[in-house]
Symmetry: C2
Subunit: 381 residues, 2 copies
């Protein structure tokens, strides 16, 4: 933790700024805990796996990809285990981006998406998603930013912070755009486990012509709440993987051995994810009700995950209101601006924190009280 | 494991090709095991730490740096925890290398060192170390390869595969070369824990003018035999760290939480490293005796770690002899060629594998028998 954050924790602030489910409470499922502990206990946890990952884990992932993502892959050829999906995401982009190459990044989006192209010498081209359009893809916004240097589209699906699940018709248009212009798609599906209201979740790699030009990035950090395990995986075509296998040790090293054993247990029995989703489903409805009952504050019903994307623009800027909430409600939330220019006037509130619903509801009530008072003071109705 | 390697394991081959101490046997020290298990057991192991790493671990590292490396650093400013030292090594180079920049890499060296500059768009300039010079640095070899594009020297100290501990006088010359030509030094000290015969180990960052232009990369994988934990750390000046802190999450993500708790225990009580070094010390002497008793085969006494760098050039090429050893001794060793052009005619044999000395000695005896027969057949004396 940073020093400022530590000071806030010491004064008992509620942290709703960390996309780490149930943080800081213990929630490791028993079967996952058992597999992890055993790997340490029998001693194999201190030895490397191959940098490309544990073979048994890759087999379990291939089964899950088939069941959940409708992707049929060869576990020995199309999967690399990564030490979390952050390094996996940059790794997925590395083979393609040469200096000056342009990467289209929808905004709002995960903050790392804006910096990643630049870290590789590329250029980030933000492409707006609009609240009026439920933050779905407007393909014309992509088309009008196409240049001879466009190389890649970077997609976060479901989106963070907006929780948008990109619909099939949007993804089909995006896929056609990618294929027609000979681009690469890197898609971060870290939040795919928690999609509500029976919205169809479509893995972009399954769309026509996309398998051979898509690198899909996955994580067990979010829906499975195993962020401290640091296990992610990257899935791609043989040709792309030939390059990635050749530099996996240089860029990633190997992934934690005991965590990979825990991940085998987690992915082979994912029933606990359903239980978590019931909790997140209940909480999103509470958050929706609370925030929309505050004068001048609004949010759409989250489509996925455990995030609230809250419009507070009638009360002040992101910086002003997040500071106000720390001071008057003792809760830490995220300013909207790191998620893109259109994040000004928004807050990201992680309603997935804490195991006990009541801790969360208390924090939401404090925010409501503080912002209601502020709205009154400002005469916002 | 790769498929070919799996087949060899199934037929009971001894693996002396993995720089993973005591692999595949269990050796986690009790205090380290306890700390790791507890992190999982109380549930915090499933939550992220900050991408820059656990603050308590950084404090313990700072103490160790002062004691062992004679480096005084601010744990909150000069240390980033990395998910192993492989990703740490590339991360250490990233802020400095622009397309076309030249990176001087001594050879023999760790294989990743030759690819890393290219992955960043740079150019690898191999600089020979000579067996006749005990693989110490010959500064003239660096000087004559200096160009206006030279940006960095990449050093592995102690060296892998030669086990060379670079002597103070060599490092002083190298430091002067780096300072005089306004270069950056990235030094990988993954093998620093195991140095024999009271050879002085000098951390390059402590030499005059070097702190502000050195990035030092460390690991708990080798001397501490905690490779599967995936914990390394990078140490540098404030100015360099300002850049690294700004992109740590993008490039590295966070490091495994439970492993960091284990690493706190390991680094705060390093007595087990002394015990390991006694084992490695004994084994290097056995390996030295065995290999030098084979006609046409020779090796120098290892100065560090648990590696034998064996000259088999009178019997054949690296590829031929490693293949012969698999077939006739059922032992897998490393060909010398990935370590640099001068590695032809050499093998790297990991004598740190297996907990039971006798398993290792049996494997060495099989190699001796096979190569002695080969030498006879070839008439090599």
């Amino acid at each position: 933790m940073g020093t400022a954050l530590n000071a806030l924790i010491e004064r008992g602030a509620a942290l709703m700024c960390w996309a780490d489910p149930f943080f800081p409470d213990p929630v490791i499922p028993e079967h996952v805990k058992k597999a992890t502990l055993e790997a340490i206990d029998v001693g194999m946890g201190s030895h490397y796996t191959m940098p490309i990952g544990n073979g048994e884990l890759k087999k379990e992932i291939a089964k899950k990809l088939k069941e959940y993502n409708k992707m049929e892959v060869d576990p020995d050829r199309n999967i690399i285990i990564t030490p979390g999906s952050d390094s996996g995401l940059l790794f997925a982009m590395m083979p393609f981006i040469c200096p000056g190459d342009e990467v289209m990044v929808h905004e709002p989006s995960y903050p790392s998406n804006f910096l990643n192209p630049k870290l590789l010498g590329g250029v980030t081209i933000p492409v707006p998603l609009r609240a009026e359009n439920n933050y779905q893809i407007d393909i014309e916004e992509f088309e009008k930013r196409l240049t001879p240097r466009t190389k890649m589209v970077l997609l976060t699906n479901p989106n963070n912070p907006t929780t948008t699940v990109f619909r099939r018709e949007c993804l089909e248009k995006l896929a056609k755009f990618v294929v027609d212009n000979d681009l690469i798609l890197v898609v971060d599906q870290a939040f795919e486990d928690s999609v509500f209201d029976d919205i169809e979740f479509v893995s972009a790699a399954t769309l026509p012509g996309m398998w051979e030009r898509t690198v899909s990035v996955f994580s067990i950090s979010k829906g499975m709440s195993l962020s401290g395990y640091r296990v992610g995986y990257v899935v791609a075509d043989d040709k792309i993987m030939d390059v990635m296998y050749g530099c996996a040790v240089n860029i990633l090293g190997a992934t934690n051995t005991a965590s990979q054993m825990g991940a085998i247990a987690a992915i082979s029995d994912r029933s606990f994810v359903k239980e978590y989703n019931k909790i997140f489903d209940k909480r999103r409805k509470v958050a929706y009700e609370v925030f929309n009952s505050i004068p001048g504050v609004s949010m759409a019903m989250p489509e996925s995950s455990f995030l609230s994307w809250v419009n507070i623009s009638k009360l002040g800027t992101s910086a002003e209101i997040s500071k106000y909430i720390i001071e008057h409600a003792n809760v830490v939330v995220n300013e909207g601006t790191p998620y893109g220019a259109s994040g000004e006037g928004y807050l990201r509130v992680v309603h997935g924190c804490y195991k006990d619903d009541n801790v969360l509801y208390d924090a939401l009530a404090r925010i409501k009280k503080a912002l209601t008072k502020l709205a009154e003071e400002k005469g916002v109705q």
